[in-house]
């Protein structure tokens, strides 16, 4: 199939009416376009705009991993911002890949990354722009096979009718094998291919439903991590080199889905990380390396790793950053070490306002630890802190919400004592969402009206603290839809389609989200939020995601839920020490 003729758009002054047109150009340093024989093509699609998709580490890994396979060419695809989408439709330009500007419909395999539930309608936006029928059963042999993966694939049901198959788990383990199989059977009838795929471990084919166990990498050093990366010209959300230093987290926060589905915790060796950092800085020229993981200060040799990286990159003015700091004195020490090149803000996540509720969520931080950590931060020179809190947590009372303001007042008092009036505290408050595969999967989400009441209470308390405390909170209507899609079953596919048909795309962007579309679509399908979101579950009641095995036993999750209700602590396990018998390592 010929390349998409972008001349009509790129050369035309109409493109100037589009926001950030640079994101549609491609041609960035380090893209891969193979010269030799290519007989299997993969479009790696991210159902959000360029700057979000390009920030995603998983996409970078997949891009390089699949392009190492002989005969295989993987190319990137992002959905356009609505203004460009409209222009493409007007000019008859189909969705295209950035590397060779090929129409998405011409690829052999279309892989869609499922990172966030509110992007589900963007999957249809993507297919629509590509000219691909939405439902798997409507697509014959002449369309690309469509695979979904990522954390949302751990409950694939709401999207199941749209996809041909899902891959559950970590791509490095198993996905290249799937591509090799697909390359071999290319040209066979789709049904035969899907039947064959359904026998592979980690693959879920909705047409042949059977229990699936996630694939995971035993040794991070043994699998590919890209030693070069595409360098965008336009600014993206996380505009830096991400190096994944560890995968998984065993802190066991009971609301956290990533903490469960990415178990067990594994580390990349410091030698490998330094080697990667060197190669990545040399080949990308980036000014910052971010050491990515779910809890970076848990990395066993974080201290010596940071020293080695600072020595190497300090003279080249390359900044090192850690995105996820625990709230302890050690983390502040580490952050101080990181400030040598450039100074940036400091972010912590106490999540709840008092020790009782933090015990419920298994985040055992005492108020005095929090205060001594912030004191250390303020005396070390920081003047602004960002803090994350959640409301609507299980077992939460109004007094707990008030305690967020009490704790912030204490932090402010400490800050003012150390830094005077310059202190600036920024709170980000989100609604708790009961995600699948977590100990809180049995919990009902708090209704929007209750969350609004709690937020009203919290707002009135926080306002008394003056201008030094700024705060914003998430849209609770969006949180309810996120919970709906996270917990949904296959009946929601029709709801997703109805919302899309009402121009409901880019729903993850508050300026485009409209809750009424969801309410109407649910009603038309005879469904309601009550059934999916506001109803607590019992252990016996099956979930739509029950037959996706994330490695952690359901019994363990239930035990953790019971411990949460009693406010009991479960220690972090690492290397078998204080093992909670979650089942993943076995």
């Amino acid at each position: 199939m010929p390349n998409v003729d972008l001349g009509g758009i790129i050369n035309n002054s109409a493109i100037l009416s589009v926001h950030k047109p640079g994101r549609y150009v491609g041609r960035e340093p380090n893209i891969i376009i193979k010269e030799g024989l290519v007989d299997f093509t993969i479009a790696l699609a991210f159902p959000d705009v360029y700057e979000v998709g390009m920030s995603h580490v998983g996409l970078k890994i997949l891009y390089h991993l699949l392009n190492t396979l002989p005969g295989v060419q993987a190319e990137r695809v992002f959905v356009p911002w609505p203004d460009m989408g409209k222009l493409m439709r007007q000019r008859g330009i189909p969705l295209y890949s950035l590397e060779r500007k090929l129409p998405v419909v011409s690829f052999d395999l279309l892989g869609i990354s499922l990172q966030h539930e509110l992007n589900y309608t963007n999957v249809l936006y993507l297919l629509d722009l590509a000219g691909i029928p939405f439902y798997s059963e409507e697509r014959g042999d002449n369309f690309p096979l469509i695979v979904g993966g990522g954390p949302c694939a751990f409950n694939p049901e709401p999207l199941a009718p749209f996809f041909d198959f899902f891959f559950i788990g970590e791509a490095e383990e198993g996905f290249p094998e799937i591509v090799r199989v697909l390359r071999e059977v290319k040209g066979e009838p789709k049904e035969n291919i899907l039947r064959l795929l359904s026998h592979l471990e980690g693959v879920y084919v909705p047409a042949f439903r059977k229990p699936v166990k996630k694939r995971w990498v035993q040794n991070l050093d043994a699998v590919l991590y890209p030693s070069t990366m595409v360098v965008p010209y336009v600014s993206i959300i996380h505009d830096r080199i991400p190096i994944e230093i560890s995968r998984g987290c065993t802190r066991g926060c009971r609301f956290c889905q990533a903490g469960i589905i990415y178990r067990p915790r594994r580390e990349r060796s410091p030698q490998k990380i330094v080697e990667l950092a060197q190669s990545l800085v040399d080949t990308t020229g980036y000014e910052e390396v971010s050491l990515v993981s779910l809890s970076s200060t848990d990395y066993s040799s974080i201290d010596s790793l940071l020293r080695a990286l600072s020595l190497l990159f300090g003279p080249r003015k390359v900044n090192i950053s850690l995105p996820s700091l625990r709230m302890d004195a050690f983390s502040v020490e580490i952050a101080k070490e990181l400030q040598k090149v450039r100074k940036s803000g400091l972010t912590f996540a106490p999540e709840a306002g008092n020790e009782r509720l933090r015990a419920v969520i298994n985040k055992h931080l005492k108020d005095e630890e929090i205060l001594s950590t912030v004191e250390k931060a303020f005396t070390s020179g920081w003047e602004d802190l960002k803090l994350y809190f959640m409301i609507g947590l299980p077992e939460e009372r109004d007094t707990d919400v008030g305690d967020i303001a009490r704790l912030v007042a204490e932090i402010l008092r400490v800050g003012k004592a150390c830094r005077g009036k310059k202190v600036d505290i920024h709170l980000s408050i989100a609604a708790f969402i009961p995600k699948p595969h977590t100990p809180f999967q049995w919990v009902a989400q708090e209704r929007r009206e209750c969350l609004n009441e709690k937020m009203k209470l919290l707002t009135s308390r926080l306002r008394t603290l003056g201008k030094s405390v700024r705060f914003h909170w998430s849209c609770f209507e969006m949180s309810a839809i996120e919970a709906l899609l996270a917990r949904g079953d296959a009946r929601l596919a029709k709801v997703i389609e109805r919302v899309y048909r009402r121009d409901g795309f880019m729903e993850g962007w508050s300026e485009f989200f409209d809750g009424r579309r969801w309410e109407e679509a649910l009603q038309e399908e005879g469904l309601s939020l009550d059934e999916y979101v506001y109803k607590p579950g019992s252990f016996e009641e099956p979930f739509p995601w029950d037959w996706i095995d994330c490695g952690v036993r359901k019994e363990l999750l239930w035990r953790e839920y019971e411990k949460a209700r009693r406010g009991e602590f479960t220690p972090s396990c690492w290397n078998g020490f204080e093992c909670s018998q979650c089942g993943v390592c076995s």
């Binding site: 972008l6 790129i10 050369n11 035309n12 002054s13 493109i15 100037l16 047109p21 640079g22 549609y24 150009v25 041609r27 340093p29 360098v231 010209y233 336009v234 600014s235 505009d239 800085v281 040399d282 080949t283 990308t284 020229g285 980036y286 000014e287 080249r316 003015k317 390359v318 090149v341 450039r342 100074k343």
Partner: protein, 194 residues
Amino acid sequence: MGRFRYRLKHWKMNPFHLLSQLDLTRMWDRIVRRARLPVAYSQGFNPRPLFSFAPATPLGVESRAEYVDVIFQEEFSPDTLSQMLRPCLPSELRLEEVVPIPLQAPSLAQSVVGVLYSFSFFYPPWEKEDPPFPEGVAVEYIKEEGDILCVCFRFTGKEVLLNPLKFASFLHETHGCCVPFRIVKEEVILNLGG
């Protein structure tokens, strides 16, 4: 540690005319790091590489005359710098020239005294006589290439920074001229005497 200033001239042709000035700033920072060139940095909490740019070309306008001054900690011959930087740039952004200049020479922003922009039209934009243009804008030359008419304007004086896109809409709105389908910054006239 020494300081050596060089003036680089490069293109920004289609499709890179869709990059903003901020995109180019980031691009240069990364290019010199990829080329392992020892660029000098500003002091302070947030050290920045010492680049300074000529007034920005508006997004959507192509250019054969993008200028950037960069200060390195070491002295290089212009040829060596060209050889190190050229492979880092695609052909549409190609490096045209590297010239060493005195550290104390006036900045690019101070040195610009004129800009030549060529406007490409499918139809003659006006009949017979030139319409009255704003002060500081004059026709430099007109070229016919098949069906396409290319008018090159010289922007000078106070209007030197006049946005060519705004000028195109001025022509359209005030004189009913057709809208150019392509605008290229052909050259920047620098007063090297300061």
